[in-house]
Symmetry: C3
Subunit: 204 residues, 3 copies
């Protein structure tokens, strides 16, 4: 289950990387690098921080092949994907829902505290996109779109709450992932933002 989730997240994030890289007019290798970094950046940071080395994608060639295939597929179909530009947003959102759960699982398998697990899940979900945006010279989406990391954190909390209830593990997974995705979709749809704490100052 967790493995399928991981692959689906990889595909979602690789597509989102390809779309951003294409919009920046990168050449084929640039597109591949951005797709890879977006797809495996968050998991790589997570693995490095918990000491899970060589990091996951070095052992398991599936990730490499999935990213390569997704990149080629997205580049070939780029004009079709472009018409569905909102799909970038959707793929990104599905990606963070799935990756949050993967990160939490890794944290739990290392016996870490739930707060740390949620931090790892949020990192796994958000960090690939942060690197993608830094490399593409955009302000990271995590800072532009305020309910991004918040959705991951709330999904993570709901995971640990639901686990205490008599619900099957697979449903707990699915539901927590949906929490992340729905919170982000609703936040964007209804323009919900967290309040600024500091409105008075003029930023130089």
């Amino acid at each position: 289950m967790i493995y399928i989730i991981d692959i689906l997240g990889t595909i979602s994030f690789a597509i989102s990387g390809v779309l951003v890289a294409l919009s920046k007019r990168m050449d084929p290798f640039g597109v591949l690098i951005i797709a890879s970094v977006t797809a495996i950046g968050g998991g790589t940071l997570r693995d490095v921080l918990v000491g899970n080395t060589p990091v996951t994608w070095m052992h398991n060639m599936t990730y490499v092949y999935v990213i390569l295939a997704t990149t080629i597929f997205s580049v070939v179909l780029r004009h079709k994907i472009d018409y569905l530009r909102t799909s970038l947003f959707l793929f990104d959102t599905i990606g963070i829902g799935l990756y949050t759960l993967v990160g939490i699982q890794v944290g739990m398998s290392h016996g870490l505290h739930p707060i740390i697990c949620i931090a790892l899940g949020t990192m796994t979900a958000c960090f690939g996109g942060v690197i993608r945006d830094i490399l593409c010279n955009e302000i990271p989406v995590i800072f532009r779109d305020e309910i991004y990391a918040t959705a991951c954190i709330l999904g993570g909390i709901s995971y640990f709450v639901l686990r205490k209830l008599p619900i099957e593990d697979d449903y707990v997974f699915m539901f927590s992932g949906l929490v992340v995705i729905l919170i982000r979709l609703l936040a964007v749809r209804f323009k919900i933002k967290l309040p600024n704490l500091y409105k008075s100052e003029i930023v130089n």
Copy 2:
């Protein structure tokens, strides 16, 4: 001793992170992320480079609670803290003094060469602020304020010199930390800068 120093440094850096994040009008989670990254970024890099994983703050929830409490406290009292805007500078300075020593200790406990220990101390002290500034889209303070890393390096050197003398360990600690703090305070007060080596070229 080293543990108390570490907690004090964490508080100092978390406050400095909160102040910068608030001045950038971030929402509550953004403020928490910047406070955390500032407080634990340098130590995390140090731990990853020496292979001390899972990194310190994943084992020891004290850091997490200290950062959470400091963040809430600073946000609630933000209007008071704001009047003391120079306090940002002061907290940052105390932070680098304390963290330099923590980093040196970790290097020594891994049996590394004094030069490497000083590099680790400087990294521990400076890297959290570098990430804070990159994420807040400012030029890292380490490059704006030239006696920043230099103060850490000189404090580190004085630590290894003082250790050879017949002085108690606690005093060696305190004195080396003060060296870092004083050098930075004096440099800023008297506008001391290191010389540029290359004055003739116009930077585009």
Copy 3:
């Protein structure tokens, strides 16, 4: 053999770091930091990702001394080096050729798949320059100059192809390194670029 290559790459990259830092009017410690990061940044990322910690330069003081000596030497002779500004390009190019091979070797010694080894080689070669450029507030050369990473990847592929032939290891090394260097030199000389895939959109 691999060790000599590594030291030569360290010197080449340290010089390239010094030249960029000087052109940004950095003070002596800033120059040293940029030289170090350029020279060991790629190898550090590689070591962290494969779990080779404490990272190489912490064990082996040779790197530290070589970087220190190269930095002092380059700073003293900066006016001479400046006349040869194209040398920056040349040193950078030799550096990526040598480091690609070092990265591939580390990957192979961990029993990783050739694709992963090539990725590690490319990372070792390119990442130091990426950090150098980010810290100096320039667009990373890897994105400005499109045949940069591509040269490393092609050199890596030629290494794995040549290994299958009945050629001595040292020649395989030399030849693959030359492939990287020649591809980049020719690409820059004849302004060869990879095609953009997405020319129609206006980037905001």
